[in-house]
């Protein structure tokens, strides 16, 4: 057996004997996917709306009913006064408070402009903003008796705007990143700690062979994890695979080249597994936060948007969401694929050079 194949065989032998690690690598990602997919659901639901009705007309009552009829809102405690409204919001008895001023029905009938106050708890800017939008639309509809929206909006690819369809691919990406970077992050430094690296270094095995032999087994494990997670997402969460698996595979391979190599670099520059672990975590936090997974890149300040161009996860996330949800092909994702492939080649070269430098 050639040296490279032998090195890979040895890594698998060791992994097979390490039952705790095996469980961690194969079972934990699925558990993570399940728990996080339910936990990171930010669909608007059960928003408590309290109404201060100072008008007390059929119209004002109709507005309140219209709000509570929607799936989004549930009735909050009734409000007696403006002070009561402020206090309720402050202590969190309701998430949104609507104040219907006296004379509203008269103004509407007289075609005069009328102001209905919508008070929102803005602590969570994202849900608060969206809840206010829903409330505004519902109020306008009820007050004017017609659809308040001018254009007809239709949502493509995710017609129900289910956040899960958006989140699950992100979680898959995160799991693949953590598993691949962590595994290789430990790979070389563990041999340093064991002292076996010294023994391997006196053999004729080359740096390229060593780095390749150290990353290939973990690439395979990450691929298995990704396949499991994607399959699970399809069956359990009905996340579609709208596009070609080949496009997805191309993106996956390029991305794994990046994360596995970065893990190896962390492993090469560290003297202990703790150091390697910390280095990998540092990278992961940046990668996840700047990827657009939790916070849209468009909302970031310009300098941070520039930084996201260095984040491989940003491009991989775009590919995974694109292929799974929109059925995007090679042509649509050419930019992301190319950038990722470039990053993969660069970081793999970096890993080989770092290893060569550290050992000679």
């Amino acid at each position: 057996m050639g040296p490279l194949a032998s090195l890979m065989r040895k890594e698998f032998l060791q992994l097979r004997r390490d039952h705790a690690m095996l469980r961690l690598v194969l079972v934990l990602p699925i558990v993570q996917l399940l728990v996080l997919s339910y936990a990171l659901d930010n669909d608007l639901r059960n928003v408590r709306v309290s109404v201060l009705d100072e008008d007390r007309t059929p119209l004002s009552r109709g507005i309140a009913d219209a709000l509570w009829e929607s799936d989004v809102f549930v009735p909050g405690p009734p409000l007696a006064s403006g002070d009561d409204l402020a206090r309720s919001l402050k202590v969190g008895r309701c998430d949104l408070a609507v104040r219907i001023p006296a004379g509203l029905a008269r103004d509407v009938a007289g075609n005069r402009s009328a102001a209905i106050g919508v008070h929102v708890d803005g602590t969570n800017s994202s849900t608060g903003g969206r809840a206010a939008g829903y409330a505004e639309a519902a109020i306008a509809r009820a007050a004017t008796g017609r659809d308040g929206r001018v254009g007809a909006v239709r949502f493509f690819y995710n017609p129900e705007l289910e956040s899960r369809l958006y989140m699950v691919p992100g979680i898959i990406v995160m799991i693949a990143t953590i598993v691949s970077a962590m595994l290789t992050g430990m790979a070389i430094v563990r041999e340093k700690e064991l002292g076996t690296l010294e023994q391997v270094l006196v053999t004729p095995l080359g740096s390229l062979q060593y780095v390749a032999g150290k990353s290939a087994p973990y690439a395979l494990i990450a691929l298995v994890d990704l396949a499991l997670a994607t399959g699970f997402a399809a069956v359990w969460f009905h996340v579609p695979l709208a596009g070609s698996p080949l496009v997805l595979l191309a993106g996956v391979l390029a991305y794994l080249a990046v994360t596995l190599s970065l893990g190896l670099i962390a492993s090469v520059v560290s003297d202990t597994q703790q150091q390697a672990m910390f280095t990998v975590w540092f990278f992961l936090v940046f990668a996840i936060m700047l990827s657009g997974f939790f916070f849209p890149i468009e909302n970031m300040p310009p300098w941070a948007r520039v930084l996201t161009w260095l984040d491989p996860m940003r491009f991989f996330l775009a590919i995974v969401r694109g292929v799974l949800l929109r059925g995007a092909g090679f042509g649509d994702l050419a930019r992301d694929l190319l950038v990722l492939a470039g990053m993969g080649a660069a970081s793999f070269t970096g890993a080989v050079l770092a290893f060569r430098r550290a050992t000679s």
Binding site: K10, L13, T196, E198, V202, P204, L205
Partner: protein, 301 residues
């Protein structure tokens, strides 16, 4: 087959090796002997191409250890001081892994494996995980792994440290056997009694050679003479000589015996007179390597 000329290596401000030279020919065992921090490991790592010297050269089989490290690798075996095999792989798997890394062919590997199992007596433990072997067996497995590609030069860094005395003796018998087959061995050890098992020794201290030659030559370089004291009254003899020492002599205990160093016959007579009546036997002996080394170390520091 191994040649070191005026080797220097420092780690920052700490000089590990300062102008060491030595040569090991085929069929010879050269012992690097010295306390921790004498520069033994650094020297060996340079010879194996794991470390570049600051100054001076090290060559193996005529090739430079740093610039031509790759060419040397397949002809050299190195056993680091720490046990450095995979504890979660079996004896056979460890052997096979290193055979593959050295690109040993399948048939050659089978033949070599059988041979190594035979001489190391590890055969019955083939399927045992390396981490569950005893200390002596671990060292024999490590040696087997460094021999799997039939090297011509062996570098062993403290191979018997932490190994029981019986296994140590057996291990040295194996090393002698390898030398008889024509291998050149560079072996370091902190145990002075192992020095006598080498063909040549280099006593190292502070990165320098403070003595070299065959064990007999090094011992003969010891300028003073010795009386050996042994017997049931040893403790009493030690106490007595410590309380009322004989001027010009020096007593040192080595396990079950006491060595008294003296220069002239009057001093020897005085020591004998003082110990008369104690249950000990006093006899003149030739200096051992230990006496020489202790004296040399004291002179060096």
């Amino acid at each position: 087959m191994i040649r070191i000329d005026d080797l220097h290596k420092s780690y920052g401000a700490t000089a590990a090796v300062r102008g060491l030279s030595l040569a090991v020919g085929p069929g010879r065992i050269c012992g690097l002997i010295g306390p921790d921090g004498a520069g033994k490991t650094t020297t060996m790592r340079i010879v194996c191409g794991l470390l570049a010297p600051d100054r001076g050269t090290a060559t193996v089989l005529g090739r430079d250890c740093t610039r031509e490290a790759r060419a040397i690798k397949s002809r050299l075996g190195y056993m680091p001081q720490r046990f450095s095999l995979y504890p979660d792989l079996t004896v056979a798997e460890n052997l096979r892994f290193f055979a593959d890394l050295f690109a040993v062919g399948r048939q050659e590997r089978a033949r070599r494996e059988a041979e190594l199992m035979e001489f190391s007596k590890l055969g019955p433990f083939r399927e045992r995980r390396a981490g569950r072997l005893s200390g002596g067996m671990k060292q024999k497995l490590a040696l087997s792994c460094t021999l799997i590609h039939t090297p011509e030069v062996l570098v062993l860094d403290e191979p018997t440290t932490g190994v029981d005395p019986v296994s140590r003796r057996e291990f040295w018998r194996i090393l002698r056997d390898l030398a008889n087959r024509g291998l050149a061995l560079l072996v370091s050890t902190p145990y002075l009694d192992e020095a006598d098992l080498c063909d040549d020794i280099v006593l190292m201290h502070g990165g320098r050679a403070i003595a070299r030659g065959t064990p007999a030559e090094v011992a003969a370089g010891f300028p003073r003479r010795l009386l050996e004291v042994r017997g049931p009254g040893l403790s009493a003899a030690i106490a007595l000589l410590r309380e009322t020492p004989v001027a010009g002599t020096d007593a040192r205990r080595y396990g079950d015996r006491l060595h008294v160093v003296y220069t002239d016959q009057d001093q020897a007579a005085a020591v004998r007179a003082r110990l008369a009546g104690l249950a000990v036997e006093v006899s003149p002996v030739g200096p051992g390597i230990e006496d020489a080394f202790v004296a040399l170390l004291e002179g060096a520091s």
